[in-house]
Assembly symmetry: none
Homo-oligomer: 189 residues x 4
């Protein structure tokens, strides 16, 4: 659709992205375009050219996490054991959120009016895989039948939130994930 970027432009764009990623990693979730420009040693205009809004930048940052996740979700949807698919999928989604604050923002938020095409596509693909995973597990009788794909999605976001407000998120990851998995398992109902 759009022509490939010129080499120098691409380099700039990547540099801005890298800078933004660092900023977020350091906990600066505000991600102000002016600030990123300054940090990247680049004119504001350059940042605005590549990312007309803060949201556009966030989505671009989230892209790689999203790509990975989409693949993981797809393979999760083909696991021999349906329930294992659920486990794998949820862990992947949770891990992505612990790792990448930009991704967390995108995934915890309703789709943007004018999201990048890529983001919309990823979302759609991920939803599809999730739906498959969910249906298989429900048919296998291992997943509560009263949960929808949206529910799963949000419950994982909630778990990620619980981890985020904790001191050592990574240490607790397995425990909290286990709680979630046990909670959604059908056995108990």
């Amino acid at each position: 659709m759009s022509p490939p970027l010129r080499a120098d432009a691409a380099r700039n764009r990547d540099h801005v992205l890298a800078t933004a990623r660092s900023a977020m990693a350091e906990g600066d979730l505000a991600l102000q375009l002016n600030d990123i420009a300054r940090r990247a040693g680049v004119g504001v205009g350059t940042v605005y050219r590549h990312f007309p809004t803060r949201r556009a930048l966030v989505e671009a940052l989230a892209d790689s996490s999203f790509t990975t996740l989409v693949e993981e979700a797809h393979s999760a949807s083909r696991h021999d054991v349906a329930w294992t698919g659920v486990e794998v999928l949820l862990r992947a989604l949770l891990l992505a959120q612990l790792t990448d604050p930009a991704f967390t923002e995108v995934i915890s938020t309703s789709p943007d009016q004018d999201a990048a095409a890529g983001t919309t596509a990823h979302r759609e693909q991920f939803r599809a895989s999730t739906r498959t995973v969910l249906e298989r597990a429900q048919q296998a009788g291992s997943l509560r039948p009263d949960l929808t794909e949206d529910d799963l999605h949000r419950l994982v976001c909630g778990t990620a939130f619980a981890l985020r407000i904790s001191e050592n998120p990574t240490d607790r990851l397995d425990r909290y994930l286990r709680v979630l998995l046990d909670g959604i398992h059908a056995g108990r109902v």
Copy 2:
């Protein structure tokens, strides 16, 4: 500690609080002191006198939810059936968050450097009750032994988050709470 407020000052304070509560209820989570002052028909200075920081105002707003919750937690800690205590406590904590955004902010956040005495006290009392509830349930064998009081606390905040990013939080409350309760129940381990 501080002298009782003059009657008119107290009236002002209450009015500001009421205004702020309305604002938050309407979804204005920014809660700008200037804005509140204007809405309350009161000078900015007045707001600042009573609530030197935004956080102070938020804590004041959260106070009544906190008071209620502390009572509920206390009575939960005396339930005949330990597990029922857990259920009651968690539901109360969850409900408070769905109802009162100010409370949500306070409870999802590490204690403030210079929090109001009341807030600190409430927090402590609530922690104590929670601890009791938790220990009783763990001794009764109904609650996973590997969960601490902090874990419980955060898991509920996570569940509240999951509800908050949903369309009709109230409709889903019971389902999500059930997931959480099943997840933390010891039966499965």
Copy 3:
């Protein structure tokens, strides 16, 4: 409606107005609020408090010219000789435009969505007087019958424009005004 300004606030407001008037007189028709603030030695916020938009400032600037003009127009509408009323009115309107660029902007422009109450009132009063002047002169047979009050209004704005793009506006004023007056006199038709 709004409470009277505090003394110091009023002083500030006046100072900003004076600064803005100077700026315009010096030919700076852009009238940027930041710039005015700097020139006035006042915080930007102060300017914005008193004049939330550039237009509000312009209207405030135009106010005194408008007040004078409205009076002149009113007395013009009571002249014994209807045609003299026309002459007086048009000269007054023309002069106001040569003297006050802010007034020129307001009067050459369609009424603002949210104009100050004063501006709207002035406009209305001026229109009314103009209408009277016009009707009397038309009934006396001295003014072309095919001209409306809007036409008069705009023709004067046009004449003011002709003067503005000239080197020595004031020197030409009488000549251009004469051309206009002769042009709208009925005698010739």
Copy 4:
């Protein structure tokens, strides 16, 4: 003076001009070079190469109106009836302004420091014809003797302005032009 343009360059130039003309016709009087470039599907650099300043572009746009006008003015200067020459000339100048905003900008403005050769020439030719028309009419006793060519010029610009700030310029053209013509006719003095 400058070498003839390469064919493709000429095509580009024309295309930019056409785009700019459309933009102005649509009421975009700002005429930002960046914007024009984008609309024309051409690099900014290309626009800058052909038109180093906004003004240069405006003058280029005005060129064709100017050419036509110069011819009309010339033929007006040869009318049998001197006064008719005045009528024809003024109407032509007025019409050009109603039709072409670029021309209006050029003609209402003092000659540019570094105007294109063509513009300067056109101006000169137009001035010459106007002077002729004016002198003949004054000698014939039909035009006020106290008007200079500059006066005529500006009075027409003023009339154009009056029309421009009106709702239906074209509907009023004849009336306003009549007012002007009657105003400058010598009969009345």
